[in-house]
Symmetry: C2
Subunit: 197 residues, 2 copies
């Protein structure tokens, strides 16, 4: 089955496809006339709210088109740093593009608590039903930028369940086994295969 992933981030599509292809799904980027539609992302403190908002816009947009019968996937994710009251949170991609990894390290220079969480909230819409998955990966912010894989804050995030390397120092398989995005998608797959309600 084909799943259309509503995102402007090609890295996310690849990551989702790696995970879901093992379960028999093929993930492609959602495009209209060859472009990612310009969705409104609300300023909100909740990744769940941002995801809900995006899927509703997408459903309105495809209503009555040939895309109507496809499964749709949206995801919103962010890095939540404990000592910074959850910053950069839902604004992670903006913060990543402006102050970047070094900016985060600089803000934390004088903080002893470096705990952080990556969170992803995915929603799959399929055959008139919604499937939700929240994935959380606990860890800490590194003192230095390390590794070249991944994207966003991967080079400064050390997952708790690892061996001290950042996400960007891991290969795709290792990262996917621990990642928040992977977890959120696996929860959705379980829900589809074993519906509880």
């Amino acid at each position: 089955m084909k799943i259309l992933f509503i995102t402007g981030n090609k890295n996310k599509v690849d990551e989702a496809n790696d995970i879901l292809s093992k379960l028999g799904y093929r993930v492609e980027q959602f495009l209209l006339d060859g472009q990612t539609p310009n969705f409104i992302e609300p300023q909100s403190s909740s990744i769940a709210e941002v995801s809900e908002f995006k899927i509703q816009q997408a459903l309105e947009l495809i209503s009555g088109t040939t895309l109507e019968n496809h499964a749709l996937l949206v995801e919103d994710s962010g890095l939540f740093i404990e000592s910074l009251n959850g910053f950069p949170g839902v604004y992670s991609s903006y913060v990543s593009e402006t102050i970047g990894n070094q900016g985060i390290i600089d803000i934390l220079a004088n903080k002893s608590n470096r705990n952080a969480e990556f969170r992803a909230y995915s929603i799959l819409y399929k055959d008139g039903k919604y499937y939700h998955g929240l994935g959380i990966c606990s860890g800490r912010i590194s003192f230095q930028i390390k590794g070249l894989n991944g994207f966003g804050f991967d080079p400064i995030f050390i997952p708790k369940s690892g061996d001290g390397r950042t996400f960007a120092e891991m290969n795709e398989e290792e990262k996917e086994s621990k990642s928040h995005r992977g977890e959120s998608l696996k929860i959705i797959c379980e829900e589809i295969n074993h519906p509880s309600k």
Copy 2:
């Protein structure tokens, strides 16, 4: 004439009222059933876009009610730091609430360029017409948090046109004479009094 200011920030209402009352307007906070309506602020890199979005929502909301004949004011503003690619920009209030003034000073610790701009984009809707005003105040980020007046990033912003004090070290009158918000409102007033088109 009464102007209803759509904002959750009471400080902004007071500041606008100080400026506009001299021109014969009375500014009050826009409330529905005693509360600020929960508007969606889009994630966008433009304060003009955020303002446009807010006023359209407000107009939809009051359509057909007794508020329909009042003038409406919206404003979006932010601090744009040159060496941080415009960060925190449209997300200023979120960044102020999470990493705060000290966070900004910490990110800039190793930067020699401390230039920044405060920008405000106001839109007034009155008698079926829209009046737009962009106000910009150039300055730099201080090395220390200074002063107790104002709000948000006022204690770390030193306007270029001043004497080295931060906005938070100035009294209301001094700040209003230089402020981005003041300028954006004055532009709108001029436009109302001397329509060019």
